[in-house]
Symmetry: C2
Subunit: 307 residues, 2 copies
């Protein structure tokens, strides 16, 4: 019997990745499009539909053979209604339903998740969360996302809403965030936040801040130290709320800089083990920038695993 396959889509503020993914997590085809949110939702979705058609043609596959289409999208999104509500990075798309557009175009089931939940599903099925039942994942990129796996299912709050773990407070004297509070994780430890703090020191971007810190520059070091303390605090919060066995650190910033954070995380894991008498693990994400796309495909391949 042939393996089931699904389309996985990862919609970010600047680009959209689409892949044809098999049950064994093989990506049999992939392409990337610009998001151009300002050109509107309808135009973006037209490009997505054409992209899927191209992928299916190259793979010699037909839409009616697909298990479905999964979409991971920069949140907030409403998984229950399949609609987007993200005025921050997808302005003008509020209330739009990629689920409806894709179900109409391809006559297979479609599913919408926020990008952090999709990335976690990718790590659950093909990465560093494969053998765990209780996991928290953070994704550090332009923003900071977070998701939890509980009893092997994606965690949902009230009304099926996804958590917003990127906005937990970690630094009481940190900068103001757009969410309305001071010093939440995203405002201190996102790529954007590190770049902004670095530019105030005359550095080009987050990469240069990390570079200078490694070279021993004291101002850059103290900036990075503050980011490390914030991430360690977020790790501590994850352990003491969801009580997971594994915490995964993903996103572009962690892909490049995980080793800068690992010693502080190791110390926190040891402290928590001593206090509560159980083992806490953490690791770098394995799928790098394809976690969201692969995970979105698994949303369609394993619809029963999400509440």
């Amino acid at each position: 019997m042939r393996e089931s396959r699904a389309i996985g889509i990862d919609i970010g503020g600047t680009k959209i990745s689409i892949g044809l993914v098999s049950e064994s997590a093989a990506v049999e085809g992939r392409l990337t499009l610009p998001t151009e949110p300002e050109a509107g939702f309808a135009e973006a979705m037209q490009r997505v539909v054409e992209g899927i058609e191209r992928l299916l043609t190259s793979a010699g596959a037909r839409a009616d053979e697909l298990a479905g289409i999964g979409i991971g999208c920069a949140g907030p999104v409403h998984p229950g209604t399949g609609t987007i509500h993200n005025p921050f990075t997808l302005p003008g798309w509020e209330g739009a339903s990629p689920v409806r557009v894709l179900e109409d175009a391809f006559a297979v089931p479609a599913y919408l998740e926020n990008d952090a939940d999709a990335a976690l599903l990718g790590e659950v099925h093909a990465g560093s969360a494969r053998s765990f039942e209780h996991v928290v994942m953070f994704t550090f990129g332009t923003g900071v996302g977070g998701a939890a796996l509980v009893d092997r299912r994606i965690y949902r709050g009230t009304n099926g809403e996804h958590p917003e773990i990127g906005h937990i407070p970690v630094d009481s004297s940190g900068p103001e965030c757009y969410c309305g509070v001071r010093g939440c994780l995203e405002s201190v430890a996102s790529g954007t936040a590190v770049t902004k703090a670095g530019q105030a020191l005359g550095l080009a971007d987050a990469a240069e801040v990390f570079e200078r810190a490694k070279e021993g520059d004291p101002t850059a070091r103290s900036l990075i130290e503050r980011v490390v303390v914030a991430v360690a605090a977020a790790f501590w919060t994850a352990l003491h709320t969801f009580m997971p066995e594994q915490v995964v650190f993903g996103g572009g910033l962690m892909e490049r800089q995980f080793e800068v954070f690992a010693p502080a995380l190791r110390e926190r894991a040891r402290l928590a083990e001593r206090a509560w008498g159980q083992r806490f693990l953490f690791s770098k994400a394995e799928l790098s920038n394809e976690a969201g796309m692969v995970g979105a495909a698994f949303r369609a391949l394993r619809p029963e695993e999400v509440a």
Copy 2:
């Protein structure tokens, strides 16, 4: 048909409350014993067994008519094995099983929960969480406990462990906690923490700090302001991790001082509603110091509602 009844027990570091509780949450009998943890587990349990026998006799009830016995206990505890692991306030009782003792003595099912989970069950069945599916509860007393209700079930982490929400970081420059980190909720906002900070100012205890702050004393006010900011941060963390519809504030400190915290909580709830487009409620616990005992009884009356 007669209502089902159960025994609910709340074991704290200084006292043990025992009640005979009906399905309609009526407390048909109650008594309180000293814990005296230093006299050992066996002696304490002997007093508990005698206390239950007295309660049953006064109510004209027989043990074999009980739905069971629920125990809420100052954690960490392991609900799965029914054993206590709390070197902090019940030293010397590590590994002891009140479940085994009570099942042997009364031949009915017994259940162990940590005290925060028991208090939440009390509020769920008879208090301020009655009509909600997704709830976080904080209990502010000698320490700070926390528990979550998810899809109307008590939240469990890996291996069935309860969260330790009292130890989420809320004040990056706060005092060192016994858990090993600086500025966790318990180290800033427990009754013990407020008393300790007050004593450093020459005040007798937490009650006097709140009293002086209300009278306008600037030092007491700034201490209380710091506690309020910490509690508001914990509220924000609860909203952004579990995404509950209702957050309940219980424990002795909140029973007396909830109104001091309410304006800051109201502001945070409004901010979160604006950011995520959904409603967040909060309220004072309704059952005051009987929440744990009543909730423990409901653990036995509704065993199917806990994972």
